[in-house]
């Protein structure tokens, strides 16, 4: 009886993304393959069905295949990683569809093993992906980052509503970054690549008495001593940043460097 009530509540939910929710399913009309769909899964994602015609082939509520037709990302601060199809338990994810399905309608079918426990930000993980587990829109407290369906990235905001089952990034940082781009950044030739707390691309060059860090945007970076203690948390501005450090071995974003 309680489950039925829950399903009725789910059924009346409306998302501002073109996503509607009914008992055990989420429906996304007119898929936009350029965007990601940040969602709280109210159960294990069992399968997705699509309807429409693409590449001269018509899909009529046809099951599609993970890894061929769509993939799912999880936010493992500071990066977004693709997850395995066996990991799609109740939780917060980003769903990405192949370009082939642009304009089609999708229905996501979930199990009933809902887990509404949300991760909370910590000093080591100040940004986490959480979701609205309510069947009604909510307004998160303070500043948070909401996925923009026009800019295709998370943008800092406050006072905005988050739709039912929509996922967003919450933080314990008083002055959070203005945006978080879903990318693992890139590689570099000649410079060591690391990432800021929000995933901003950084390159690090050691020098006598410290390091010079080139940052692609304003961001934070925590530098640890080799024994794991925080040596310094620095606020980086876009461009070169010179940071003084005593001689020693340090770690930033999992990469070791030596200051002589």
């Amino acid at each position: 009886m309680k489950k039925s009530l829950l399903y009725i509540l789910i059924a009346i939910t409306v998302l501002s993304l073109p996503v509607s929710v009914k008992a055990g399913t989420k429906s996304i009309s007119s898929l936009n393959s350029s965007q990601l769909y940040p969602l709280w899964f109210p159960g294990t994602l069992n399968y997705i069905r699509v309807t429409g015609t693409t590449d001269r082939r018509t899909y009529s509520s046809e099951k599609i295949t993970y890894g061929i037709d769509y993939v799912v990302l999880k936010y493992n601060y500071p990066r977004f990683n693709y997850v395995d199809s066996t990991e799609l338990k109740s939780g917060c994810y980003l769903v990405q569809f192949v370009d082939n399905f642009n304009g089609l309608t999708a229905a996501l079918w979930f199990g009933t093993d809902a887990d509404s426990t949300m991760e909370t930000p910590t000093a080591e993980k100040p940004y986490v992906l959480v979701g609205n587990t309510s069947s009604n829109p909510i307004t998160p407290e303070g500043k948070f980052l909401k996925y923009s369906t026009t800019d295709y990235k998370f943008l800092a905001t406050s006072g905005e509503t988050v739709s039912a089952y929509e996922a967003y990034i919450t933080t314990n940082v008083s002055n959070p970054v203005s945006q978080i781009v879903v990318s693992d950044g890139g590689i570099t030739n000649g410079i060591r690549r690391i990432y800021g707390t929000d995933g901003t691309r950084l390159s690090i060059c050691t020098s006598s008495g410290g390091v010079t860090i080139y940052s692609a945007a304003k961001t934070l970076l925590t530098i640890y001593s080799v024994n794991g203690q925080t040596a310094k948390t620095v606020e980086l501005t876009e461009g070169p940043n010179t940071i003084r450090l005593p001689r020693g071995l340090y770690i930033a974003d999992g990469k070791k460097f030596i200051v002589k």
Binding site: V98, T188, S203, P240
Partner: protein, 424 residues
């Protein structure tokens, strides 16, 4: 002393032709705020405007009581007090006695301070320097985007990227990389793009043709760009998109009227089977074609419904002709809306495709107008588009053989993706 000055200036004058910005990079830090030191008793310099990479300098000369023969600017990125000669670069200007002089400086380095001074040389060969102004142009990194994959077939795809902003750094190369696990880099499969479009509609787009992919398989794709800032190379990647290769086309053919000559029939059969290979692997199109031999047909022809006829000339009983005629069955020159697309073709998918396939971002599709029933390039309207010599782009690069057969099928797929009507 004056003679020494004169000799110094003369040497500098001879040196000017060879002047280049050979200064070593300044390692001085600081902020990007311009600093101005006022000492304008005789000459005062100011940085008038900065429109990267060009900087306009201005100097005001107070020439009362002096006879000034020459005026100019001197700058350095190493010497904070630039002077004529040494590692500084200078430029002589007018001799007309103006009190205000102006000139532009084309900067080479970003994130680097430039120090500038005005100078005046008197009739007594004294050189008077102004106060010093300085400026720095911050580097702007390129921004790129991976574009939607709209022309994907069974074993190939046209993959595109574009520059949102080319920045003010030196761009060394750009292209597309793919893999199957996500976030592809240049360590995976990548193809460098040839150029960017120069026309208004497609400015900044680039792309690559990826062939020999696996059917019905998801691929991750990202555009990349390699650039250099102050002699240091870096690579950036755009957003990760995903697309899947398709199940391919479903084009089949059957015999209508045979020739009665086993050699001729075998030649036509080979031509049709080969054409179907390309249409089923390099397009997603569907059709049922009936093939006939008719000695009264000068070359070959085909209707939208798929009624195809080969004539008696053996030269035309060939895969290229079969593909050309197949394109009519797919709507080229036969669909009700053929002429509505215009010349050049007005829709993006076919336009982008031909540009990438012929590695020339200035290419356009022609032929979609009333009275014309063929398209080019890529339409295999003549055998020499495929064989001897093949098809050339505007840069003189030649494409021929099997590649042009793939181009034809990919282009028919693109024309249909753009909305060309079909028989079914």
């Amino acid at each position: 002393m004056r003679k020494i000055y004169f000799a110094f200036v003369t040497i500098a004058l001879f040196a000017i032709a060879g002047c280049s910005q050979s200064d070593e990079l300044s390692t001085d830090g600081g902020t990007s705020t311009r600093t101005i030191k006022y000492d304008n008793s005789i000459i005062h310099v100011t940085v008038d405007s900065i429109v990267s990479p060009t900087v306009t300098l201005r100097a005001f000369v107070k020439s009362e009581g002096l006879t000034i023969n020459k005026r100019g600017f001197v700058w350095s990125i190493k010497n904070k007090t630039p002077a004529i000669g040494g590692k500084s670069v200078f430029r002589l200007l007018d001799f007309t006695g103006k009190d205000t002089i102006s000139n532009t400086l084309n900067t080479t380095y970003v994130d680097t301070y430039y120090y500038v001074r005005g100078y005046a040389i008197t009739n007594t060969a004294d050189t008077i320097y102004s106060d010093i102004d300085s400026f720095m142009i911050s580097s702007i990194k390129p921004q790129i985007e991976t574009m939607p994959v709209t022309n994907r077939v069974r074993i190939a795809a046209i993959l595109l990227g574009r520059f949102i902003n080319q920045g003010n750094v030196t761009i060394n190369g750009f292209g597309i990389c793919i893999n199957r696990k996500g976030y592809p880099t240049m360590s995976d499969q990548y193809i460098a793009a040839i150029d960017t479009a120069s026309d208004t509609n497609y400015k900044g787009q680039f792309g690559a043709f990826f062939d020999n992919l696996t059917a019905n398989t998801m691929y991750h794709v990202r555009a990349y760009c390699i650039y250099t800032v102050n002699n240091q190379k870096d690579t950036i990647y755009a957003n990760d998109r995903i697309f899947k290769t398709t199940f391919g086309g479903d084009v089949r053919w059957t015999w209508g009227d045979r020739s009665g000559d086993a050699t001729v029939d075998a030649r036509i059969t080979q031509a049709m089977d080969s054409a179907l290979y390309y249409y089923n692997n390099y397009s997603n199109l569907y059709h049922r074609v009936t093939v006939n031999y008719n000695s009264g047909v000068p070359t070959a022809d085909c209707t939208l419904s798929g009624w195809m006829r080969f004539g008696a000339v053996a030269t035309y009983q060939w895969v290229g002709t079969a593909q050309h005629e197949m394109s009519h069955a797919m709507g080229v020159g036969t669909a009700w809306n053929w002429s509505s697309f215009g010349d050049p073709w007005s829709k993006p998918i076919a336009t982008q495709s031909i540009r990438v396939l012929l590695k020339d971002m200035t290419q356009n599709i022609h032929g979609a107008y009333s009275g014309q029933i063929h398209f080019w390039p890529g339409g295999i309207n003549y055998r020499n588009e495929v064989e001897n010599p093949g098809t050339s782009n505007t840069k003189g690069v030649v494409f021929s053989g099997v590649y042009m057969l793939k181009v034809n099928a990919m282009m028919c797929n693109a024309l249909r993706e753009d909305g060309l009507a079909s028989y079914y």
